[in-house]
């Protein structure tokens, strides 16, 4: 341990001067210095006993600290920051409860492959294992939900650990990394030498690439296919392969279906874009996948929400899986050709050899499948005075489509309606918790997104249930003076759970009706302007008012209470076995 206070000033010969790039610093100062050198400009955190030395050293740093109201919010903000910018997001918390409050946010980032680094304070290294005040084994707790984590017990380990944490978080398949730093490691001093603190990760190999034979096999399948579909996932955005996917699809004439996290990776208005697949995907998309003879999975992982029953999934299709994580190959779906590597690099390698093939017959047959869905679209319902969530989302899209807009959703019915009715043209314009499905994600993630992209127009689309899980972060929003618009899709129910109860539990609405506060008044308590909307004709004026207002705005949209997301593939059912909206359209709400 090098907690000694050596000063190189005593040996100031010319030779040692040129050699000495080091200065004596505390672990806490080294932490901020390293974060700055990693490009961090903002962190989201909450102080406490074991992290106090780090907070004390913050005053010497250029980094802007956002004070959250709950550590879960800090992790979601770091997550939203990362999703909006593509950079690593950073969250800071103290030991014990501060650290455990981060667990949900870390798991959210893990399931969606989001690069965040969580810094937690830990009790002094001498106290570890003694059940000291606010001691939790957070590296043990987060072991299965981090890409990697560290316990740092000496100041001399801080620099290398932070460098490794950022490298691991952002490389390969990104993910969350937690660094737990004991109080004495923050307080102790050592020589700081950035160059000497290079990552030492002999077993970590994020850069894989396929073998030439595998490319040849893939090309053969592509050229022999008559009914191919690209399944476009989040990996396209992570890899930055939007252009390459578009070029590939256009050259090979292959339609593109998207996962929830893939929305925005391929322009919604592109003629080859089919839309979202899966449990609440459009019917024609799921039918297309089931009828395909070749699936090209681009940076997606065949989640159960997009495959339905695996036994009946795309039964006649060969599968090519381009994926950076080797552990995803053959995990859920057995594939014929795996191409393990960075999607963009793999596509650049494939592209020159891909032949242009006329697939108009296949594309025409998909167009015929679309007809049936149009008549079931709730947008085509005459205005009966009822306000549906789909109207709100659709109007919001029309109003904001031309701008630099980021929509951040929570989890549930409103999330699926957003995915269906907001047409995303650009990557990182939709931020949503896919894999973990974390309610309470939207508001804090939107704060992170707004901090990352202050020029963007940020809209929170959130249910009345999820909003109440993290609405304490309204105070953070106000304290940071952020112009974020909040659209609460308020149906007085935990809507998606209610929908499952309607379909699968004999309409036994156990514990799903919500008695809500007056959200408009609540916003007022924070000094946030608000509106309440309950008629379809008021939606556009409300959205316009929010956009014109100089500060944040909360709009409480009181929508149909018992509306349902259609189509729906029941959990475990075959992908083509969808529950459809009754046709012709009938009111789904019971007016008893």
């Amino acid at each position: 341990m090098t907690d000694q206070k050596t000063t190189p000033a005593t040996s100031n010969t010319a030779e040692t001067k040129t050699k000495t790039k080091t200065t004596t610093m505390t672990g806490a100062s080294i932490l901020w210095e390293c974060l700055e050198r990693e490009g961090v400009k903002h962190v989201f955190g909450y102080p406490g006993g074991a992290i106090l030395p780090a907070y004390d050293a913050l005053k010497h740093s250029k980094i802007h600290h956002v004070l959250v109201r709950h550590e879960q919010g800090a992790t979601h903000m770091a997550d939203g920051y990362a999703r909006a910018s593509g950079e690593v997001g950073v969250a800071v918390a103290t030991s014990g409860p501060g650290a455990t409050n981060m667990v949900t946010g870390i798991a959210t980032a893990m399931l969606d492959s989001i690069p965040i680094v969580c810094i937690t304070g830990q009790v002094g290294s001498k106290l570890i294992g003694s059940d000291a005040f606010q001691e939790t084994d957070i590296t043990g707790v987060t072991l299965p939900i981090t890409k990697h984590n560290y316990l740092v017990t000496h100041a001399s380990e801080v620099a290398r650990t932070i460098r490794e944490a950022f490298y691991v978080a952002r490389s390969g398949r990104p993910g969350p990394v937690l660094v737990d730093i004991t109080k004495d490691a923050q307080q102790g001093t050592c020589e700081f030498d950035w160059d000497a603190a290079k990552p030492q990760l002999p077993g970590y190999r994020p850069d894989l690439s396929p073998a030439p034979a595998e490319y040849a096999q893939a090309l053969e399948l592509i050229h022999n296919s008559k009914r191919p579909v690209i399944l476009a996932g989040h990996g396209i955005i992570v890899s930055g392969a939007m252009r390459e996917v578009r070029d590939f699809a256009e050259r090979a004439g292959i339609p593109v279906a998207l996962t929830l996290l893939g929305l925005g990776a391929f322009p919604a208005s592109h003629p080859l874009n089919l839309g979202m697949m899966g449990m609440h995907g459009e019917a024609w998309v799921n039918h297309t996948i089931q009828e395909a003879d070749l699936l090209l999975a681009f940076g997606m992982r065949f989640d159960d929400r997009v495959t339905g029953d695996l036994k009946t999934y795309a039964p006649n299709a060969k599968k090519i899986h381009i994926e950076i994580d080797p552990a995803e190959i053959n995990k859920n779906v057995k594939v014929d050709v795996p191409l393990v590597g960075d999607l963009r690099e793999v596509l650049l390698e494939l592209m020159p050899k891909v032949e242009s093939i006329d697939r108009s017959e296949w594309l025409d047959s998909i167009d015929r499948l679309k007809g049936d869905s149009a008549v079931r679209d709730i947008q085509n319902l005459p205005d009966s005075g009822h306000l549906y969530a789909a109207h709100v989302i659709n109007d919001l899209w029309h109003q904001t489509r031309d701008g630099n807009t980021i929509v951040v959703t929570d989890v549930g019915q409103h999330q699926m309606w957003e995915a269906q009715y907001y047409k995303h043209e650009k990557p990182r314009s939709l931020i949503t918790s896919g894999g973990l499905g974390t309610m309470g994600f939207a508001l804090p993630a939107a704060i992170g997104a707004k901090v990352a992209c202050p020029e963007a127009e940020v809209w929170v689309v959130v249910g009345d249930g999820g909003f109440q899980m993290t609405m304490c972060e309204l105070a953070t929003l106000v304290q940071e003076n952020l112009k974020i618009h909040i659209a609460i899709i308020n149906n007085g129910f935990l809507g998606m759970v209610r929908q499952w109860q309607e379909f699968f539990y004999d309409r036994n609405y156990a514990a799903t009706p919500l008695l809500n506060p007056d959200f408009a008044k609540l916003a007022g308590a924070y000094g946030i302007r608000s509106m309440t909307v309950s008629e379809r004709s008021q939606v556009v004026p409300a959205v316009q008012a929010a956009r014109q207002h100089e500060g944040p705005m909360l709009i409480d949209f009181k929508v149909e209470q018992e509306d349902t997301v259609y189509p729906m593939v029941a959990a475990g059912a075959a992908l083509h076995d969808m529950i459809r909206r009754p046709s012709p359209i009938v009111e789904t709400a019971e007016d008893e």
């Binding site: 043990g140 072991l143 299965p144 002999p202 077993g203 894989l208 396929p210 073998a211 080797p326 190959i329």
Partner: protein
């Protein structure tokens, strides 16, 4: 079927937990796991046997590689290898039975390492089948206590993998031309 993996890991605190946690997390049942030092102080080596089919074995290998501290993984199930288990067996052996038990131990080339009026303690090293065989014939005499180490394994031949593990030149999975296991 039982698969045997040789896993080279960085000799750091917590690595055993990470490996064990992975098997639990992915719902694979470890049959046996041993860990110990190697010829290189910075490298530890695990021998893990786990019941898995071919695809599962692939995924285990790929998931092990996802652990940052894992240097090299080799599935030696279908490769020529030396596999050894060690057992200590305390068997009931009163005066009458003692010579019979000693004879059986001799046949299996096991050693007697402790003796009391009522029992013999036998040490045996070998493949799992051999040890199971000895246990079968000793059982009628009454096994009072038994402990096994779990297996350690090494590939036959002159090639050393420890070097590859530390030089970061991972071996390709050449057996079927699939490159995704690095």
């Amino acid at each position: 079927m039982l698969n045997t993996f040789m896993v080279y890991v960085e000799n750091k605190p917590g690595v055993l937990t990470r490996v064990a946690s992975l098997f639990r997390r992915r719902a694979f049942n470890i049959d046996s796991l041993t860990v110990g030092r190697t010829e290189k102080p910075e490298v530890s080596r695990m021998t893990i046997t786990v019941d898995a089919d071919r695809d599962q074995a692939r995924r285990i290998e790929a998931n092990l590689y996802k652990l940052v501290n894992v240097l090299l993984v080799e599935n030696i199930t279908h490769q020529p290898a030396i596999v050894r288990d060690l057992a200590l067996i305390r068997v009931s052996a009163t005066h009458d039975a003692r010579s019979h038990v000693l004879e059986l131990a001799n046949v299996f080339r096991a050693r007697v390492v402790d003796l009391s009026a009522e029992s013999l303690t036998i040490e045996i090293t070998g493949g799992e089948d051999k040890i199971d065989g000895l246990l079968d014939v000793l059982r009628p005499y009454g096994i009072l206590e038994m402990v096994r180490t779990g297996i350690v394994a090494m590939r036959r031949g002159s090639k050393s993998n420890g070097a590859a593990a530390t030089e970061n030149t991972a071996l390709g999975a050449a057996d079927d031309g699939v490159s995704y296991s690095v």
